[in-house]
């Protein structure tokens, strides 16, 4: 019975992964297929679609724009996320739970509502359609991820660590710089990488606010509307690979699966 339960568990997990990954694998396979139409049997290997992708100025421009958005978004959300997480960790203040709720709210809002809201707000302050509009929207979306990751790391910090630093003549500002930030360093890097991935992949809100400044996902949709081309498989594979790479690096830095270090105490953790 137990053996069956184990077997079933493995099978179910495998099925889930196949279900999630099959479309991506299909896209990957067909991106190298010589035939114009995604159909079996495969007709031969080609890198033409990748060549087409990296020579299309519109696509290159979209990639450049996505990077121009992703890097500042990642930096800004990590800095703001750290501030918010530290604030939540260190201080007790009136309305703290409301503050935390508001901080973590954006991912729960349907993307279309968020996009529409952003569009109407940003057009009112006359930056809708600018690259800055995408940047602002993406910070809003990515910030909760940054805050959650950094807050998790702070929760592992021994309360005595900051006090020990004050006790050794470090002012609160010096303590923040010499103790808290180094302690959170890995989660800061992880947060940077993952928020970059969030921005790079985000479609719905970018579609509303980007105007002519299309990011890669928006460019992909526009591309699809015009034609069905295997180039789309190549773009998809590139986007997926870069995102998965960012997330994997982020997870490696955040120490998922590693023993946590909460502070060097008297007994080994």
């Amino acid at each position: 019975m137990l053996r069956f339960a184990r077997w079933f568990g493995w099978a179910y997990t495998a099925y889930t992964f196949v279900f999630i990954l099959a479309p991506i694998v299909a896209s990957l396979v067909f991106s190298f297929n010589a035939d114009r139409f995604p159909a079996l049997p495969l007709t031969g290997f080609t890198a033409d679609w990748y060549r087409a992708t990296f020579t299309d100025p519109l696509i290159i421009e979209a990639f450049q724009r996505s990077l121009m958005v992703a890097i500042p978004v990642a930096s800004l959300s990590t800095v703001l996320g750290f501030c918010a997480a530290y604030c939540d960790y260190r201080f007790v203040f009136r309305g703290k739970s409301l503050f935390s709720l508001l901080m973590l709210l954006p991912p729960t809002i349907p993307a279309v509502i968020m996009g529409l809201g952003m569009l109407s707000y940003l057009s009112r302050i006359n930056i809708a359609g600018e690259i800055g509009a995408v940047l602002i929207s993406h910070v809003v979306i990515a910030l909760p991820f940054a805050m959650a990751m950094i807050r998790l790391r702070l929760a592992q910090m021994d309360d005595a660590l900051e006090e020990a630093s004050w006790n050794l003549h470090a002012s609160p500002a010096q303590t923040l710089w010499h103790v808290v930030i180094p302690f959170c360093k890995q989660s800061l890097i992880a947060s940077f990488l993952i928020t970059a991935a969030v921005s790079f992949d985000e479609f719905a809100v970018a579609w509303f606010v980007s105007g002519l400044n299309e990011t890669v996902p928006v460019r992909v949709l526009v591309f699809l509307q015009g034609q069905v081309s295997p180039v789309i498989n190549a773009i998809g594979t590139v986007v997926f690979s870069s995102s998965i790479l960012l997330v994997a690096m982020g997870m490696a830095f955040s120490g998922v699966g590693k023993a946590k270090q909460s502070g060097a105490g008297g007994s080994p953790a």
């Binding site: 021994d158 005595a160 660590l161 006090e163 020990a164 630093s165 004050w166 006790n167 050794l168 003549h169 470090a170 002012s171 609160p172 010096q174 010499h178 103790v179 180094p182 302690f183 360093k185 270090q261 909460s262 502070g263 060097a264 105490g265 008297g266 007994s267 080994p268």
Partner: protein, 367 residues
């Protein structure tokens, strides 16, 4: 008495409705090893945190060398603390952990490293200077924490139960190290602990606290032999407390009538008057056991049970008319020769010098 290095003057601490420390005053002398002892929640750690500036007293003030520390944040005080959790910085090397305090004081890198290394060598950690603190053993981390606190050569070092995470063997070795370090450096140590062994083996003076109040401040010997009150006596646990009323007052001793008969108790410093209720205690290690009385005070008792504590044995005797068991501590050899079985009837006897009134108690009829 010499001028106190640290003066705690009318200090109390409240957290909302909870009073952690009630108004307390005492001085800490230069160069002494002072242990603050008590069970958890007695206010000993709060007292230490107030010294370090991590808590601000609700009333009163703390003075270091006559300078009030009132309103001085922890980062402006010269009172380094060794944490129970050690609180070493896991992202820094051993050397950088030790040098942290110097860095924050703006000491240049070369000087910082020279001084940190000197301390590491002194504590036999020189070879670990570039290691990560996470790679060290418990005892080694302990010494890194000590070096980190001592590197700035403070006048006073605060220690918050630093040995509680170590095993018994290592703890004994660290106690010896702390004691010799303190003697050698002449630094004042303020050591908070719940362990009687640690406090008694290292301290010059012991402060016993209970529920936010200081119960007694004295040398370990006098706390052991002359507990100030019932609480201290029960906390140390090496005596039996009896209750009676004063029958006769002499120069050196008083006679007390108890439920098991009349006994002579050495008077010590207490003022006694005829007829007053009197609590007194008998030191467990000064009671003799036999079939006949060997000293002037004696009771017939029933042997209940015993407990080994190394080379000594604690016996528990039932005495008719008194509530608590009479505690007797005998060398293991002596106990062995008696060949007692539970239920045996024995005579316990003790000289009047083994029984004392609580020092500072006033045994007058109206009290």
């Amino acid at each position: 008495m010499t001028e106190a290095l640290v003066e705690i003057d009318g200090v109390s601490k409240r957290f909302g409705d909870y009073t952690a420390v009630t108004e307390t005053s005492f001085g800490i002398r230069e160069g002494e090893f002072l242990a603050i002892m008590g069970s958890s929640g007695c206010g000993k750690t709060t007292m230490l945190r107030m010294l370090a500036g991590l808590e601000e007293p609700s009333t009163g003030e703390i003075r270091l060398e006559g300078r009030s520390q009132k309103g001085l944040p922890p980062w402006r005080r010269e009172l380094p603390l060794v944490w129970q959790s050690l609180a070493l910085f896991p992202f820094l090397s051993v050397l950088d952990n030790v040098g942290f305090g110097l860095k924050m004081r703006g000491v240049n890198k070369a000087e910082r490293e020279r001084r940190s290394l000197a301390w590491l060598q002194k504590l036999e950690l020189g070879e670990f200077a570039s290691s990560n603190v996470m790679q060290l053993s418990g005892g080694q981390r302990q010494r890194v924490a000590l070096a980190r606190a001592l590197v700035t050569e403070p006048k006073v070092l605060l220690l918050d139960e630093p040995l509680s995470a170590l095993d018994a063997h290592l703890s004994v070795r660290m106690q010896a190290l702390l004691r010799s370090l303190q003697r050698e450096l002449g630094i004042t140590f303020v050591y908070v602990t719940h362990s009687q062994t640690e406090a008694f083996s290292m301290a010059d003076r012991v402060v016993i606290m209970s529920r936010g109040k200081v119960e007694q401040i004295a040398s370990p010997q006098s706390v052991y032999r002359h507990p100030a009150n019932r609480f201290v006596a029960e906390f140390i646990g090496n005596v039996t407390i009896l209750r009676g009323s004063v029958a006769e007052v002499g120069d050196q001793s008083i006679r007390v009538n108890t439920a098991t008969g009349s006994m002579t108790v050495s008077r010590g410093g207490c003022a006694a008057s005829h007829g007053a209720p009197a609590d007194f205690y008998i030191n467990a290690d000064q009671i003799a056991i036999g079939s006949a009385p060997q000293h002037e005070n004696h009771v017939t008792a029933r042997f209940l049970s015993h407990k080994f504590i190394g080379n000594m044995v604690t016996l528990f005797l039932e005495v008719p008319g008194i509530e608590d068991d009479l505690k007797v501590i005998l060398p293991e050899r002596t106990y062995d020769c008696l060949g007692l079985q539970p239920g045996d009837s024995v005579v316990a006897s003790w000289p009047s010098a083994a029984a004392h009134c609580f020092s500072g108690a006033k045994l007058s009829a109206g009290a």
